[in-house]
Symmetry: C2
Subunit: 385 residues, 2 copies
């Protein structure tokens, strides 16, 4: 058995005017340690995209380990744009695999609401190619709108078809106490929301928000030694990560998330599973079109048929390919560097049978976390022990 | 034998108006691959402190791997303030140790001169505690000046004593073609330079600059399989990393770099050596007082006696405890996130016998890389193969 997650914790996603970045991270971290029943760890990995710009704070490894009272442990920040959380988990996984550290804490955190919205838009665009995209005025929303328009055009979908991903996310978020948006919406809600970059509407997009989520990773041997009950264990069965061109202009095909495909192939292979064995998919629906492209890259749908799964009602919790069971980025929220760790927590809760929208008998779950417009993607496969 | 460095590369440190961040990183990286005689790697780690603020670009893993033509590999950025380079090397080391990746590229890069100097000062202070230090107006230089004043006061040293660290660094930098400052200076040069935060003078401080340095890490087995001649191999014999309180107010003792002590103990133990076995020390002399405190924390000098080593002429290349053999942060330059990788390249060149200020028969070398005011410190021990 590969390294296991033995404890998870998170703060509700939202606009946390009363909590600083460190407060959220510490809260999630201590909850995860509490969940595992441990009071110390060997090292800390922090997944965060852009605290320097948002809250004028770097050196998050030291900041969080220090203020959480973890002692003089090794601690660093891992950055892979919006995939920072998923990447941080993989670094923690590698640290355990390397034999250098036994019990590793991983926390993803982002505090976005302290900045003006216009600044937030600018900071998020740092995930794109600063010199070839941002310099010319392309925001992150604009780049995703390009992809969305091409997807609709090429495969003949309507905006309503993609809206179904947002509807599904909100339906699931409504039952998740940690979600930012707990209201169900309809296709009409999405269609009546304003265009923020035609054809992308406000309700196609995930929100700017704050949050932190954490997990404790260790070897099965150490988990046993620590006396963590096996019901808490969830195996990290496979990990994969790959990059693609950072700017869209250099992509072979705008509508293929090549990095997700490669990352998924690696993770599936390591876990010894295929897409068919996966009971739920936490995909990176920062924008509705990304959910569709992700399902295609992960091998759940054929090319051009990701949106069809939504149209055919196959993505709900009780359907064949449940996605975004806790609300996804759209409804749970997308505190960028924290998202991969929220996905991790969600996968763990599902596989322990403790999720608020439980997929019956879930044995294998997958999280897919996208950085940039598909330029840096992590895929992690989790398995019930 | 532990993982080995099989190739190194760097760009001269300086004000690179003609090179973007990506250009420098790619240049260093391709030189390192060329040095190792390889044309592909399994993954990339980027050490960088704060590209978001300096050049509005994050997602450096994807950016650099993409533009360097490395293909769809895993790639992330590692941040530990000014210790980002040393930390990135350790993550690369762990990746190889984990068995998940065989040949790993590590590049440290920082592009600082595109920002206004006043902004650079602000961005660097993000390594301190934003809410408890920066908020109150403390710059990074001011915090180091506090430490310097206390050091002089407590142990009865003069400003001239500490100036000797800068004099030594410049003497070595004068012979390093990759150094930013290639002129020898005297104690008088330091003493006549303006106070930037009393008692810290301009020549006590390392410069704001640009640079990138890289190394290729792999297992001895793979190095052999790749046909890399053994003369190129340098073993990463031990690694250690630790944090301390991020703000100075919470330190037990302002004059003890506790994180360096713990990190060094770990690295020495893993390498099976003590300070006595080390032939040269690349310490983090961002400010002259930090060189003194580092020598004490690394076990080279007793508490309060670090500066004595400089006064007694024991830190020169041909003396007992050579430090900053390539100019240190002071003269080679301190492109913050790149520094730990410049130290790595220097250690490797020394142990291959190819350094511009060669320490005769060097067998073991140590690099120590400080993030924040001592809050996040990495120590790596290298050994000749």
């Amino acid at each position: 058995m590969r390294p296991v997650v033995i404890g998870v914790g998170m703060v509700p996603v939202g606009e946390h005017w009363d909590m600083a970045l460190r407060d959220m991270a510490i809260d999630a971290l201590l909850k995860a340690m509490d969940d595992a029943g441990i009071d110390k760890v060997d090292s800390l990995y922090v997944g965060n995209m852009i605290s320097g710009s948002f809250v004028e704070q770097e050196n998050l490894g030291a900041l969080i380990a220090d203020w959480a009272g973890l002692g003089n442990i090794p601690a660093v920040k891992v950055e892979a744009a919006c995939a920072s959380g998923g990447a941080a988990l993989q670094e923690g996984f590698k640290a355990v695999m390397s034999g250098l550290e036994d019990v590793v804490a991983v926390v993803g955190v982002e505090k976005m609401t302290d900045a003006w919205p216009s600044d937030a838009t600018r900071y998020l665009a740092y995930a794109a190619d600063a010199e070839w995209e941002l310099f010319h005025g392309a925001s992150f929303v604009a780049l995703n709108a390009l992809i969305m328009r091409y997807y609709l055009h090429k495969y003949g979908y309507t905006e309503e078809d993609l809206a179904l991903f947002a509807v599904n996310a909100h339906a699931n978020g409504a039952k998740n106490p940690y979600a930012m948006f707990k209201r169900r919406i309809t296709v009409d809600t999405v269609m009546r929301s304003p265009y923020i970059a035609d054809p992308l509407k406000l309700f196609d997009a995930s929100p700017v928000c704050d949050g932190a989520a954490a997990a404790i990773v260790t070897t099965p041997e150490k988990a046993k030694e620590l006396g963590v009950p096996k019901e808490k264990w969830v195996e990290i069965a496979g990990v994969g990560r790959a990059i693609d061109t950072i700017n869209l202009a250099n992509r072979d095909d705008l509508l293929v998330l090549k990095a997700a495909k490669i990352a998924a192939d690696r993770a599936y292979k390591m876990a010894g599973v295929t897409a068919k064995d996966v009971d739920f998919f936490e995909v990176h629906d920062a924008f509705t079109v990304m959910a569709a492209l992700s399902l295609e890259a992960l091998g759940v749908a054929e090319k051009g048929e990701g949106a069809k799964l939504a149209r055919e009602g196959q993505i709900a919790v009780d359907a064949d390919y449940p996605i975004q069971t806790m609300g996804g980025l759209k409804a749970r929220g997308h505190p960028v560097g924290a998202t991969g760790m929220y996905q991790t927590v969600e996968a763990v809760l599902q596989l322990r049978g403790e999720a608020s929208n439980q997929v019956p008998d879930a044995e294998v779950g997958l999280t897919q976390n996208i950085g940039g417009t598909g330029s840096n993607i992590t895929v992690n496969v989790f398995r019930r022990v």
